[in-house]
């Protein structure tokens, strides 16, 4: 009898334990954000990563907004609140927005993350880590000399439909996004 009770107890404990483990996994899966989708999860990319970002997954036909910025760039910091608003307003309308930081890798925790938290930024942020940025700059746009900030909007076919060097004029960018996502605001 005692032996049977013991076996039953072990079995019950195993059942409950595995159930709890499954429950915990599900909870983690629901709350864990995919890489690049969290303010604190900034993925480093190199030139190849930048190419993949801009060449796009063929299955992703959303218009793509890319903003090149850095915490050392005061124009970038000044325009960021407008970009956060644009992200909030257009993400549900089908705009994919990725911010590419040109900060130093060692500044991710001390400068980049605190800034993004202050901005309440929700868009994916990646950091371009290339010792020589020239090829990356010219890959993005052959006319670009590296002026920061720089903003590019690609339509669903991957064509550049808007680009701006220096601080954006929000109304101009919004107008371009409206056309790209096919909405009027």
């Amino acid at each position: 009898m005692v032996r049977r009770l013991g076996i039953a107890f072990v079995g019950l404990a195993a059942f409950l334990g595995s159930g709890f483990a499954v429950f915990a996994q599900l909870q983690f899966a629901n709350t864990a954000k995919p890489p690049g989708d969290s303010v604190s999860d900034i993925r480093q990319i190199d030139l190849d990563g930048l190419k993949k970002l801009l060449e796009r997954d063929p299955k992703d036909t959303r218009p793509l907004l890319v903003n090149f910025w850095a915490t050392w760039c005061d124009g970038c910091r000044e325009e960021f609140p407008d970009l956060v608003k644009i992200d909030n307003d257009y993400r549900a309308k089908g705009l994919n927005f990725v911010a590419v930081s040109l900060d130093e890798v060692e500044d991710i925790r001390t400068k980049v993350e605190p800034f993004l938290k202050e901005m309440k930024a929700a868009m994916p942020v990646v950091l371009l880590n290339e010792k020589d940025p020239e090829t990356a700059i010219h890959f993005v746009d052959p006319t670009w000399q590296g002026d920061m900030p720089a903003t590019f909007l690609y339509d669903k076919d991957g064509k550049v439909v808007f680009k701006h060097f220096g601080k954006i004029k929000p109304a101009e960018l919004r107008s371009a996004i409206d056309k790209a996502v096919g909405s009027k605001q």
């Binding site: 090149f68 850095a70 050392w72 760039c73 005061d74 124009g75 040109l102 130093e104 010792k131 020589d132 940025p133 020239e134 700059i137 010219h138 746009d141 006319t143 670009w144 000399q145 590296g146 002026d147 920061m148 900030p149 680009k163 701006h164 060097f165 220096g166 601080k167």
Partner: protein, 204 residues
């Protein structure tokens, strides 16, 4: 007849104004800046220094050429190159090439340009480009951004100083290489290079 004549004059004047505006804006329709092509001759210009004294490019240019570098007082990237720019100036002054700094930022007053140069020990001439006229003419977009002119004001290089703000990561000294080739009488093999920098804060 008079009406036709008046219309023609008005149309011609409008076209001239429009052409001048486009040509002087330094930007194309995509908002990208238009720099003079390599090989073009840069017209002489005059700008004041931080003390208000006016200087012409021709008076400052060395016997073998000049390096114009658009710089800033508040841009961390431009400031990260302060020592390198000063060393460049010292190294090439003796070789007949003058480094000339140009500050076109509307947000940086001339008093700040002067105090910044003193604080950072920059001894080369720094000119204040109010209204960013020279920045527009040369299509300069950010700091630091360098232009090398030969003894006849021909543009032989336009671009970055080197490939990295961190000295330990510098593998390509593009500006120095261009100057050395110029001094050796050789064609400049790499006439430009891109690097990230702070946009020039323009008045217009």
């Amino acid at each position: 007849m008079r009406k036709q004549y008046a219309f023609t004059v008005i149309l011609a004047v409008s076209l001239i104004i429009a052409f001048t505006a486009i040509a002087g804006s330094g930007r194309n329709d995509d908002n990208a800046l238009m720099a003079p092509p390599i090989g073009s001759t840069i017209d002489d210009f005059k700008l004041p220094d931080a003390d208000g004294a006016s200087h012409s490019l021709s008076s400052l240019r060395g016997k073998n050429g000049a390096v114009l570098i658009f710089i800033a007082t508040r841009c961390p990237i431009s400031n990260g190159y302060n020592e390198r720019m000063e060393k460049l100036s010292q190294d090439y002054k003796a070789k007949g090439i003058t480094v000339i700094g140009i500050n076109s930022n509307v947000t940086e007053p001339v008093s700040e340009v002067k105090s910044h140069a003193l604080e950072k020990h920059l001894t080369f001439t720094i000119l204040k480009d109010d209204g960013n006229k020279i920045a527009d003419r040369l299509g300069a977009g950010h700091t630091p951004e360098a232009y090398v002119l030969d003894a006849n004001n021909k543009l032989v290089y336009h671009g970055r100083i080197d490939n990295s703000l961190k000295i330990e990561n510098v593998t390509s000294n593009d500006l120095r290489d261009a100057l050395d080739e110029l001094l050796a009488g050789k064609p400049v093999s790499k006439t430009g290079g891109a690097a990230f920098g702070c946009s020039i804060k323009r008045a217009s």
